[in-house]
Amino acid sequence: MIKIKRLNKFFGELHVLRNIDLQIDESEVVVIIGASGSGKSTLLRCINFLEYSQEGEVIINDEVIDPTQTDLNRIRQEVGMVFQHFNLFPHKNVIENIIEAPVYVKGLSKNEAMDIGRALLNKVGLSDKENAYPSQLSGGQKQRVAIARALAMQPVAMLFDEPTSALDPELVGEVLQVMKELAKEGMTMAVVTHEMGFAREMADRVIVMDNGMIIEEGSPKQIFENPKEERTREFLSKVLK
């Protein structure tokens, strides 16, 4: 479903992604781990073209995406994204946040969008917060709204960029719970996270990045119990205390 071929990305002189090859199949949950600065988030952001790479190809549903030719807004509708800092729209309440894009991008009627929005709020367990403003929500609630907002566009895949890193520890669980349900429903997901528990339990495949490269990939069992690379072992020993 998502294919990345020999992707190279530079920030000025800095070579942040080196020859990345990656394939994410339909309904697959791929978890990307690695030290900070290893290029995980940048890789994710290259998939929906929040960042442009200098070399390589991104292929979504067999379509090679050329950012100068393809309508990126169409691609971005297909691939939802959830951010570390939620990025909810503070001047809109919860339901307005969710229906904004379905109404103004997809052109749904407000009523249709409201139906979708309410169903999604129910799914993330926040039906009672429909009219609350983001400033009135906890971090965990904000992130669940952000997930609902992305899902409202009915994407075929979801990208999660450290969705729990900005949360208080006791709020991490509720967000992971929503993500687990999503994974069980067969959503195609790419998740950058430091939650090794989630990776172990939910990942079909774990990708380990270091210094802009994919240094190792495999099943959670393989990566966590029998890592081949020294740098993987080093990283895991630091995060799994």
Partner: protein, 228 residues
Amino acid sequence: MIETVDKIFSILGESLPALIHGLELTIFLTFTSLLIGVLIGIIVAFMKISHVRILNRIADVYLTVVRGLPLIVLIVILYFGITNIVTLSRFWAGVFALAFHNGAYIGEIFRGTIQSIDRGQMEASRSLGMTYFLAMRRIILPQAFKRAIPPLGNQFIIGLKDSSLVFVIGLNELWGTGQSIAARTLMQLETYLIVGLFYLMLVLFFSWLVERIERKMDVEGKREVIRL
């Protein structure tokens, strides 16, 4: 003291209609020029944040000219410059000069508040498939305009007071009217006290209005002041 009060009343008795007329002209000048100034400001703000080099440059030159020239110099240059090319009433020449001046500062206010909106807002909007312009219109600008209200209110008050400078091109607004009354009656201090009082009342009214708008729009940070 009593003499001064007497003189003030005598000026008011004799010249109140002229002063009111001057006051009206000041209000009208201010509002029209600030309205056009806001339009110029929006355009300049977008030119500044645009990725098109030439637009940045044009905006920079404009800002440099306005910042670098005393307003009174700008007014006469524009007045004699414009009236050379097109016939324009003094009023509109004055309006245009003030708008030209205020537009630069208003533009900087808008640019600042647009850029103060967290970039995550644009990223989230784009990630949902919004175009740049839709994201600007629906997500960024509403937040930026709200943040612009306090500095904008401040600039409006400055603009109101600066409007007194168009007397140099012969407009009889409040200050200009005061000058002719002072010259005729030779009661300079008293006349200017009245004029000053009129400006003060206008500014107070305006501040009150801005305050109300801020409260109504629930501008961030208006309710809570952090004390350390």
